[in-house]
């Protein structure tokens, strides 16, 4: 009787666990080796070119101007300060872009679902056009074709105290006078009062079922109380109005064309994507829910707000998060039309002047990485708050 044994090496390699182990050891070795190889090349290259590593260049004067800066900045300031200025510019454009894109997206998404045939068609055209044209092209269009074609400062368009010309949008600049602290105090007071009102209304509704329009009335409370305190302090705000002069506009606050172009392009482009997300979310809510709400006697706007929207939001929020992330990352395209955001200032000018490729590119990636991470952490928190709690 012959022994029926399988060769030992065969059985060892046929074991799934052993193979996984060997594969992973090989993979790890490859990653480590590749990392070592690239790093040693890097060291040799940096030595050869005489580039020192480290962030010491951050303390040296930058020597280049930045067109748009929300904090004090001149050419004599350091690279470190230039980085902070660029960081703020990136944050501002992302935040404003997210707010505007959300508004546009919700309006367009609802419009595409409208019972009005014409409105639905127009929204469809808007969405399908903007979604299928590259964002960079749209940015160029707004900057080089629309804003650059506006008249010179002398022939600015005027609306109330606003001026519009090729140097940007000029608006009155509010300057606070003595006694403005009282107004701020009043504003805080009004917010506290309206929060109390909302809590009271909710309590009363759970107890008695009586409904009180808490949100509209708290808006009234905020406006009213703030106005009373404004009047009490004797209106301590003056407006510095923009004035046309021969070649330029003096006074006022200005939104430069670079800023306007990036903001408009980002928000209309992302808005088209958000519109589709909103539409899909609303369509995902079963029609039976609407019918049930109607049979309970809810009015149409109550049905939308209390029944449809909360359920639609569950479908909307995850993809909406990725659109917000996209918008924040796409703000980097502002570099192409000289909006001084992170990529333009740090990976563009700073990299060119100092040659510190590793530090500048690494820093930018780190900033975008943490920006993406914090947006997704916040949206995930909101998502878990809104998601269906199954019992």
């Amino acid at each position: 009787m012959s022994e029926n044994t399988t060769p030992s090496n065969n059985s060892f390699l046929n074991d799934a666990g052993n193979r996984a182990l060997i594969f992973q050891i090989l993979l790890l070795a490859m990653v480590v080796f590749a990392g070592y190889y690239l790093f040693s090349n890097l060291q040799a290259n940096l030595d050869n070119r005489g580039i020192s590593t480290g962030f010491s260049f951050f303390n040296e004067p930058a020597g280049f101007p930045i067109l748009i800066h929300l904090i004090e900045y001149t050419e004599a300031n350091t690279y470190g300060r230039a980085f902070v200025v660029a960081l703020i510019n990136t944050f501002v454009i992302s935040l404003l872009g997210i707010v505007l894109a959300t508004i546009i997206g919700v309006i367009m998404g609802l419009a595409r679902l409208s019972k009005n045939w014409l409105v639905a068609r127009l929204a469809t055209v808007y969405i399908e056009t903007l979604r299928n044209i590259p964002l960079l092209l749209q940015m160029f269009f707004w900057y080089f074709a629309v804003l650059a074609a506006l008249p010179a400062p002398r022939e600015s368009y005027e609306f109330a105290d606003f001026l519009l010309n090729k140097r940007g949008i000029y608006s009155p600049n509010p300057i606070t006078q003595d006694g403005f602290g009282l107004v701020i105090f009043g504003f805080i007071l009004s917010i506290v009062a309206s929060i109390a009102l909302i809590i009271w209304a909710k309590k009363r509704q759970t107890k008695t079922g009586l409904w009180f329009p808490a949100y509209w009335s708290s808006l009234g409370v905020i406006v009213g109380i703030t106005f009373i305190f404004l009047a009490m302090a004797g209106f301590p705000i003056e407006f510095d109005l923009p004035q046309k002069s021969r070649f330029n506009v003096t006074g006022g606050m200005v939104l430069p064309p670079e800023f306007v172009a990036v903001l408009v392009a980002l928000s209309t482009y992302t808005g088209a994507f958000i519109a589709e997300i909103v539409r899909a979310g609303i369509l995902s809510v079963n029609w039976g829910q609407t019918e049930a709400a109607r049979s309970l006697g809810l009015r149409d706007n109550m049905t939308q707000r209390l029944i449809v929207l909360p359920q639609a939001l569950r479908v909307i929020i995850p993809p909406l998060t990725s659109q917000y992330l996209n918008l924040a990352k796409n703000s980097s395209l502002g570099a192409a039309i000289a909006y001084p955001e992170l990529v333009a200032v740090v990976m563009g000018t700073t990299l060119n002047q100092t040659g510190q490729a590793i530090e500048t590119i690494g820093l930018c990636m780190l900033v975008y990485g943490s920006l993406s991470l914090s947006i997704s952490v916040f949206m995930n928190w909101y998502n878990s708050k809104m998601s269906l709690i199954e019992r």
């Binding site: 992973q24 650059a148 980097s332 395209l333 590119i361 990485g369």
Partner: protein, 366 residues
């Protein structure tokens, strides 16, 4: 005498509930708000459509050799006509552009051959994926069979855009599938390598990747070894797109019921057999819309190579806008670019819908 009840013929429905009148009443004037919205929309159309038609067609100038020829006050399409070759081929030598055209015709013929029933689909696929790229490369770059060498720095225009898009798509697809499988794998090291790669790439904008490709890759390579810029940018685009592709494919893998994996195991299939024969075909079919979406996104994103100094389609248009003979034709250039990009992207999305319908195998709930 019996009275026989004779029903009179039914009346036609009232005009207000059928036909055009009813349609208008229902869809445009059903409520005060709707009436307002209808008039508002008509007003917007009135503001936009007639001036655009007048500008683009009625007052347009179609021929001429400088801006001075455009006197009609409308669009100056002569600009696009003069620059057309540059927009399409970049600075590729004019005498050699037939090589690009030939490659395009070849591709169209090969893809079109899929419709012919008698041709072996497997051989055809191999020809397109393996043989065609080699042929196309030598056609574009030259250097063999007496073809003149054309430096990649001269490649540009829509040709470069399509090249970047197609190579990015083709190369990132298998890489993305492998990354997705790695992320779903039970091997901790393989899994974490994939997760780190995917999440890092997805957290940063494409521009930073392109900057890295064009500035940092040379620093990481040994002295003397250097790739040309086009190749570096292609590596960047492929890695970027692969990370997104991986997440799309992962979604498909997650949607496959566990029973399918178990069934494949029960059949005694190895890991790769069960993936290639059972899981992936189902998963990929599920995520066709997502895959096409990332293709479209990638195609639009190729415009960013302009920022690292390459002149793709948009880049050539931007360059032509600075021609002093044609000052003030910016809008025409952008309109032309928008039209081309729109047609390609919209076409892709419609095509994906038709594939979806074709591959529908009836798992949908009714």
């Amino acid at each position: 005498m019996a009275i026989i009840f004779k029903p009179s013929p039914s009346l036609p429905p009232p005009v207000t509930s059928v036909g055009a009148v009813a349609w208008v009443r229902q869809n445009l004037f059903s409520s005060p708000l709707n009436i307002f919205l209808t008039f508002f929309s008509i007003y917007i159309l009135y503001l936009l459509v007639p001036p655009v038609i007048e500008w683009a067609f009625i007052n347009a100038t179609w021929e001429g050799s400088s801006k001075a020829a455009c006197t009609a006050g409308g669009a100056c399409w002569a600009f696009v006509g003069v620059y057309f070759d540059q927009f399409m081929y970049g600075l590729y030598p004019e005498a050699e552009t037939w090589r690009i055209n030939l490659a395009v015709i070849l591709l169209v013929v090969m893809v079109g051959a899929f419709a012919v029933k008698t041709i072996n689909k497997l051989y055809l696929s191999i020809a397109i994926i393996v043989v065609y790229p080699i042929v196309a490369y030598f056609l574009f770059a030259g250097g063999v069979f007496g073809l003149e060498v054309v430096e990649t720095s001269l490649w540009g225009g829509l040709f470069l855009t399509v090249l970047l898009g197609v190579i990015g798509i083709v190369a990132s697809f298998p890489l993305g599938v492998i990354l997705a499988l790695g992320r779903r794998s039970e091997m901790p090291i393989a899994k974490s390598v994939c997760v780190v790669f995917i999440e890092t790439i997805r957290a940063v904008p494409l521009i930073t990747i392109l900057f890295m490709a064009s500035v940092m890759i040379p620093l990481f390579l040994p002295e003397g070894l250097n790739f040309n810029k086009l190749l570096r940018v292609l590596i960047g685009i492929t890695l970027f797109s692969a990370a997104y592709m991986a997440e799309v494919v992962r979604g498909g893998l997650q949607a496959i019921p566990k029973g399918q994996y178990e069934a494949a195991d029960a059949m005694g299939l190895t890991y790769w057999q069960s993936m290639v024969l059972v899981i992936l075909p189902q998963a990929l079919k599920l995520v066709i819309p997502g895959i096409v979406n990332s293709f479209i996104a990638l195609f639009k994103d190729t415009t960013l190579v302009y920022i690292v100094g390459m002149f793709d389609f948009l880049g050539r248009i931007q360059a032509a806008n600075h021609d002093s003979n044609w000052l003030g034709t910016t809008v025409e250039g952008y309109a032309f670019a928008a039209l081309i990009y729109w047609a390609i992207c919209f076409g892709m999305s419609r095509y994906s819908m038709s594939i979806e319908r074709k591959l529908e195998t009836g798992h949908k709930r009714n």
